[in-house]
Symmetry: T
Subunit: 71 residues, 12 copies
């Protein structure tokens, strides 16, 4: 078994619904351009307010993926 | 366009339901006395336990709002 | 009223559903072996990805419980 | 039982005597203008020196208090 | 000499010019409603970008002021 | 001389008197069930307030103790 | 309105002039290859010294930009 | 597949040889009393000095292990 | 001399041998696709355990490289 | 009024009595060799345990002093 | 080429003008007594307020310098 | 037994070989000018890269030593 190297990219997912949905939206978007996604870690939970209500949850994520030989 | 100043207040919202509900309860309460709420940031997620179950989620929030000339 | 001492144990709860469920699963498991659970604090929210989707949410928790005389 | 919201205010208490006295002085002062004080947390312990001796202990405190309907 | 208590308020000053100007704007605004301002501490330097240029510097500040007997 | 391994346990000591007493109470309680206590480190100083006064100091402690062969 | 995802890239801008110039140089360079730059955050201010004088300011920056469908 | 819960214990491994040996010594000791060890994380690297030389490396470790039904 | 801009990428190198080998493996892999590597910084040392032994060291690294005009 | 420069030195004061005494002992010792001591800040509170009791409090301190022209 | 050792000293530079000037003042002062200054890092930006205006910027700096054989 | 005071100095040791060698080099250099070295703590592991390889490991260290009466 070889010694893999992983790359960590940082994204911010958003949703008007919930924290969980903001995470899922961010992971969905990342998976469209990156292969071998392996783990994520939440770095920050923020949000935008308008008219005294939450307009968007914004969740910072570090996303790790395994580098392949061809990457 | 003028250079706005914002004030940041720190609150703890609580809910027996979920983390999202604790955040919404805190924002709702803040919006009853503060105008121009602009963003929030989660600083801490804690909770109170009783009989081996979660009785209350308690979510620390920093809430930013724009100061007006009359404030 | 006596001056209680509390012990803090660190666990990681997991769930394929949501952050809230991962917390509840961890607290449920802790309550099977520890009495007098008093509070929890989230230390980290991570997760495992497979096929570009969230396979498991993993939530780090510090859980505090009151020590009794007999403990 | 309703879901309370708490506000957290940050103060610095001081004393020429001791750390404990600086905390008590800060809490005493806060309790003159704020009701329903619920908890405090020490954020920083500093002090001012003069002639090679401690002139004042300065203790940073976050103080949480429960918001009432009328606040 | 009495043992003073200080309050710490958190603001965000902004400027389209520079970091120093954002700090000054925030302090100027705070001094319009608060007396006895004593010190500040920078907590964060951020900014808003548009068309690949800095539109606003946003500087987080903790501002400490001495509480008087009448406050 | 062998290479010892230590275990670190986290507790919260409390006292209605002072920070020092809360630390001593926590260490006293830990020494009733753990042998070879070697060091402690304060992780947090908090407290509970009631009627505008400090009801309990609560001091978080990490306590290290040397594992013996038989542990 | 759709739920945007942002990517955060980390750069270090440098200047022999000032902190503000180092930030602007870094943002200018980033805007040559990245579209939709939205915000930045300073993570670190360092510098290189030679002959007892500041030769270069080096400012660490996180820069966020909105991902488009085609990215 | 069930939703596992993990427990995290904190230890300090030591060695007169090297950092790597201190980690291995700590893990070896932990594996004598704990089953299902799953991961570790280094929290601190310290050491004891005597006669101007390193007498012991002391490496703080968080060690995670999967709880079984019977634990 | 021009004012260079650097980019910082985050990777995780792994090795079944040692921390130093995990760092070298990560740097080796990064140097296959990135030019002008200039510095690295260790952000985290973790590892995977199996059968009570270290199966892989995993070392988080920030790696800085100088951007060229053509990048 | 000239723009002073301060130097910050880090010490650890100890006492078998209390945290306050450990701070005073450290400041007393520093004042024997350093002039113009201006402030201190507590960075860490630890202690050594023996026979289940606190043998020494050890308090980490940063101590700032004003540099004079002749220093 | 030998393996150099560096020492890191911590200072606070001040200026009534700007952050950049406070850094330069601190570096200028350090260079009067220390040779081979190599780098600096900003650890804190604070300031003193009087009459609602900034009287002094105070910038904390870590300054690294290379030790020579004769030091 | 008297209440000792310790001083903490910060250095950076370097080596082209390994992290352990960089630590040893730093401690060796410190022991040439300081007596009564008592402990060290690693604060940072960095390194310089050239031609895609590690040229120098640079390890930040805090080194504590006991002050004697004559110091």
């Amino acid at each position: 078994m070889t010694d893999h190297t992983y790359r960590v990219t940082e994204i911010v997912g958003s949703s008007s619904e919930s924290i969980d949905a903001a995470i899922r939206n961010g992971i969905d978007r990342a998976s469209r351009t990156l292969r071998n996604l392996d783990w994520f870690e939440v770095t920050q939970v923020r949000g935008h307010l308008a008219d005294g209500r939450i307009e968007h949850y914004q969740v910072g994520l570090k996303v790790g993926f395994r580098l392949e030989d061809a990457d």
